[in-house]
Symmetry: C2
Subunit: 312 residues, 2 copies
């Protein structure tokens, strides 16, 4: 059989699924795979979608898939659920969602749950997006639940960031405004048929009006959608296209920042593993932790010592 | 003047504030300070409070402060807002909140906003809690907004984790249940006077009933509160006390796991800084990123090379 990387590049769905599992498991084969496919990446456009739980993101993403397919483009979805430590539920969810696009090779949907520490999820998400990119998907949608730092990090790695709100979440808009202001390229008010939709739009508008947008700077538009009926989805796709055209000259810079984040994060991961596997004796790390717990030493002194023994 | 560490240990509020700022700024003096005060920590009981935005956590925490003070204990609060990149708003909020406890030296409240990458916020939060611990606060409340991985990490570092829900957030309970199931030691249904409070209690109860709790294992209780009136706050404090007594034998293990997370995270941070400051030539990191962007190389190969040059 052809190597996995070749089959991924050929767009084989089973190879894509296998590749993402390797990445999720942090297997060494996953790193090798990313290395092999990396030269074939950089063509897909990455769309990040986040928002509070219950904002209807999955339904919205499904509608976007339909719209993108109608326009003749292929699409891959990485659905990240940082709150779910159980992959069983995620896999079941994928099956249900994939059924809506059954028999369409131009669509690939994959959920990822929380793994590891130190930004492991953001790394895995970024690499899953690389796999879909290398597999020739024109658009890669990264969908995540929540509005914490992890989601901000994930969505920041996309080429465009969409923040989804729902009517009647006035408190939320207030509570989240600073973080949202920073990452949203496009706001979506979903479930726009609900009471209070115009009020939600008005409060986002009020937030935006506090900021100045110099000539030529993108001002995040607010798009009203009803994901269940599909209303507003065409407008959202048009807003994504406008943003893409507007930011095309700066895309290289945004992607370089993304590479910087990824490299730094990967360095951290490798260094710690190296110290634990090659520098510390068996059981030594555990004994040091016991000494910290007993207040015989402190975390900084322990780390100083480990670093000194590990670096040249 | 006495060294900052001595003044922190003496409980001087201005010294505590200064110490937390050093930690927040990731200043080398902050690390020195933690080293100096570390032997004086481990006495405070750490209470983590999280939940979706708008769940009324701040009001609830304020009520807990009053209850704790009535019981004759001192209290420190670290209010983490991962969605707010602006400390200005946080500081203003602190002033408003502190006024409620003006003139009471037994209360110290401090907000922290998002800083840096690689778990920087969880690290800073943990160290701020150490400062309040060393300063002699009996209870340290760590309050955070959200239910993403970052909040889970923060709350996990506490001795007891409280998850706050509000009625009418049925979708949320469903969406979040996996993550919540994992971290909650106590559930609070706040705004319990609202319609649907009993339904929210019932759905948490339904979730819990899916799990088996062997004899002797803690089963998270569900406490109904109305933070605005103070109803249920005494019950919540009683639940915290019960949990504390129940888990006292295992507290050492929980704290050791916390130390492990902290040490690993600190190692990562130090290694990356070492590589960037001492191993890579000026401008080299940037040139490597350009080569990645141009697809002349890939992140894994770059990291392999940097790690090889950095470690012994």
């Amino acid at each position: 059989m052809a190597p996995l990387s070749d089959r991924v590049i050929a767009g084989d769905p089973r190879a894509i699924a296998r590749a993402i599992t390797l990445i999720e498991d942090e297997a060494p084969d996953g790193a090798d795979l990313v290395r092999r496919i990396f030269a074939r990446t950089g063509r897909a456009y990455l769309v990040g979608v986040t928002g509070a739980p219950g904002a209807g993101k999955s339904t919205l993403v499904d509608r976007l898939i339909v719209g993108v397919r109608k326009a003749g483009q292929t699409v891959g979805v990485v659905a990240v659920d940082p709150t779910s430590p159980f992959s069983g539920g995620a896999i079941l969810g994928d099956r249900v969602r994939m059924q809506a696009h059954a028999g369409d090779d131009g669509v690939f949907i994959r959920s990822m749950a929380t793994r590891g520490h130190l930004g492991g999820l953001a790394r895995a998400t970024g690499e899953a997006a690389l796999v879909l990119d290398a597999a020739g998907k024109d658009l890669v949608l990264i969908e995540t639940v929540g509005v914490g730092q992890d989601e901000v990090d994930i969505v920041r790695t996309a080429d465009v960031s969409i923040v989804t709100l729902v009517p009647g979440a006035g408190d939320d808009v207030q509570a989240l405004k600073a973080g949202i202001m920073e990452i949203a390229d496009i706001f979506v008010v979903n479930k726009a048929d609900r009471e209070g939709a115009d009020r939600t739009v008005a409060s986002v508008e009020a937030m935006l009006s506090l900021q100045t947008f110099p000539d030529g700077q993108w001002r995040p538009p607010i798009v009203k959608t009803e994901a269940t009926t599909g209303r507003g989805v065409a407008e959202l796709l048009a807003a994504i296209d406008r943003f893409r055209a507007h930011t095309a000259p700066a895309l290289g810079g945004r992607r370089k920042a993304r590479a910087e984040y990824r490299v730094r994060e990967l360095m951290a991961h490798r260094f710690v593993r190296h110290a634990e596997e090659r520098v510390l004796a068996t059981g030594e790390f555990d004994r040091l932790l016991d000494r910290i717990a007993a207040r015989e030493t402190d975390p900084y002194s322990v780390v100083d010592e480990i670093v000194k023994r590990t670096v040249r």
